[in-house]
């Protein structure tokens, strides 16, 4: 029986209770594999310690005494000067407690006309470092959210602001300057159009009673949500994105004007679309139980409690966009642009394929009617 990394790492820190240090030493003396593993872990720990050890403690002049700190706390609280700072802090873009808002946002997407109009901008609602997919049954959700009572119930606690206008630009550097991100293009390809799409902000204060009522409405009283979700202020920041169109694309099929549900009208079959945006984020209180909300989210899109538990436990909810795709779509993981991405072929999209990946804080979305090999070669040639 070999020792696992957790045991070996604890042993290095003298924090392993079982097996005892004597037993570990005895095992290591006769086990090459575990000894080698221990060395790897030891070297890693040394590197990490050396690097993190570079972060300095405050110098003596920067230390704030407890008494001074207590006084500042008191003064800030009593004069209520603290409020603006609190607001400032709470407006910081908390990295991705995104699932806190996922339920609300999924619902909002279905419920609010302005958000519906953004259609494929759906992808922009989370700050993501990786993407995974989960199949869901579209018709059950459609039914649930076609209920106008629910729609109006949610819409009145949600605001959506769009920042700026859709702008057609002529070059990648111009798009980059407007969007504030490096804009990459496939090698040796000139886009037929280049569009900078405005970002926006979706904000809502969670009314837990309403969400529970909604869950009742769709027959899912069994889904548990954390109590401190109530009154949580959730803000989704949708960054500016850059869309490059290649081939014969109909620019007039402006998404804000077309029916977002009818994807067949979206682009002609000669059109390839590359969209890139800074990874979006959702602001939510940091002490929310993200795992529980994530599990609830999986249940809402149709999993049983035990399936959701099993699937959810493999996900790092803090950085993963869990993209619900219709259960009839075909999808697989692919290596693209040096990272793992996902290739999706939705059933209702004729032969369209969608490739999604995240690299260095930028989310890429490539939609095309080419075969998968060509799509991957485009993606891999981005520069």
């Amino acid at each position: 029986m070999h020792l696992n990394d957790g045991q070996l790492r604890s042993y290095l820190d003298g924090e392993l209770d079982q097996p005892t240090p004597d037993a570990v030493e005895k095992h290591l003396s006769g086990c090459k594999r575990c000894s080698e593993r221990l060395n790897i872990l030891k070297n890693r720990a040394q590197l990490t310690k050396a690097q993190i050890g570079r972060l300095q403690d405050p110098s003596s002049s920067e230390v704030i005494s407890i008494i001074a700190a207590r006084t500042r706390f008191e003064r800030a609280g009593s004069k209520k000067e603290y409020r603006p700072m609190l607001q400032k802090l709470s407006a910081q873009r908390f990295r991705l407690a995104w699932t806190a808002g996922a339920i609300v946002l999924i619902v909002a997407l279905f419920a609010i006309p302005q958000v519906r109009a953004l259609g494929v901008n759906f992808l922009g609602l989370f700050r993501v470092e990786q993407v995974t997919i989960v199949p869901f049954n579209l018709s059950s959700l459609d039914y649930a959210f076609s209920n106008t009572h629910i729609s109006s119930m949610l819409a009145d606690s949600t605001q959506f602001e769009q920042n700026g206008e859709r702008t057609v630009v002529t070059s990648a550097p111009e798009a980059a300057a407007l969007a504030g991100i490096p804009v990459r293009m496939p090698a040796n390809r000139e886009p037929s159009s280049l569009i900078v799409e405005p970002g926006g902000r979706l904000s809502m204060t969670v009314d837990l009673a309403r969400i529970r009522a909604l869950l009742d409405e769709i027959g899912r009283q069994d889904i548990a949500l954390p109590d401190n979700l109530d009154d949580a202020s959730i803000v989704a920041d949708l960054p500016i994105s850059v869309t490059a169109l290649f081939g014969k694309c109909d620019l007039a099929s402006d998404k804000s004007a077309s029916d977002p549900d009818d994807s067949s009208t979206h682009r002609s079959t000669d059109c390839t679309e590359l969209r890139q945006m800074q990874s979006p984020s959702i602001t939510a209180p940091p002490d929310l139980d993200i795992d529980q909300i994530g599990t609830a989210f999986l249940q809402i899109i149709g999993m049983s409690a035990s399936e959701a538990e099993a699937f959810g436990s493999r996900i790092d909810w803090a950085s993963t966009l869990v993209l619900p795709i219709p259960s009839d779509a075909v999808s697989r993981e692919v290596q693209v642009d040096g990272v793992t991405g996902i290739m999706i072929q939705p059933q209702h999209y004729r032969n369209a394929k969608i490739l999604i990946w995240v690299k260095e804080g930028v989310l890429y979305y490539l939609q095309s009617f080419f075969n998968t090999g060509t799509i991957l070669s485009w993606a891999n040639s981005l520069e």
Binding site: G6, L8, Q51, R54, I66, R70, F73, Q92, R93, P286
Partner: protein, 188 residues
Amino acid sequence: MDVNSKFLRSKPDALPGNSQKDFAAQFEQIFHENWTRIYTILYRLVGNRDEAEDLALETFWRLYNNPPKEGQNLSGWLYRVGMNLGYNALRAAARRRRYEEEASRQHLDHQAYSDPDRAVETVEEHRSVRLVLGQMKERHAQILILRYSGFSYQEMARVMEISANSVGAVLARAEKEFEKRYRSKFGD
């Protein structure tokens, strides 16, 4: 510190007379026992006095204004909230990319280095470590900061809400991620 949170379960203004006193006393104790440690960890994370102070005050403000439910481990809660705030600030700053210019200026202002090359080098070192931390999975970055700020496995387990037996495994994964990101960014 293992204070049970039963007196903190309601907002202070909602508590009747005696409970208010209990709350106040307990809050004072927690503030005194934890201020320096919280502030120091946040300073290491964000690298400047004003921001670390803001974040530390914010952490205690949350405890005061919206304490955890009864039965939760208070010090675990406090450091969890502090680490969340600190990590988010670090990440936001790293994203803005203005961070290091600011930090570098402040650092140079505050530190009287006899050798300016050495000062620049130190700022670069901080920059690289914070950049790597800011790109890591949040829990991984947090456990590394806690570990190398001298937290025991028991203490880390309380902050991370995992069993003490799992700390080694999470730490090993976190160090693996750190090494991978560090080497891919800065070589060996």
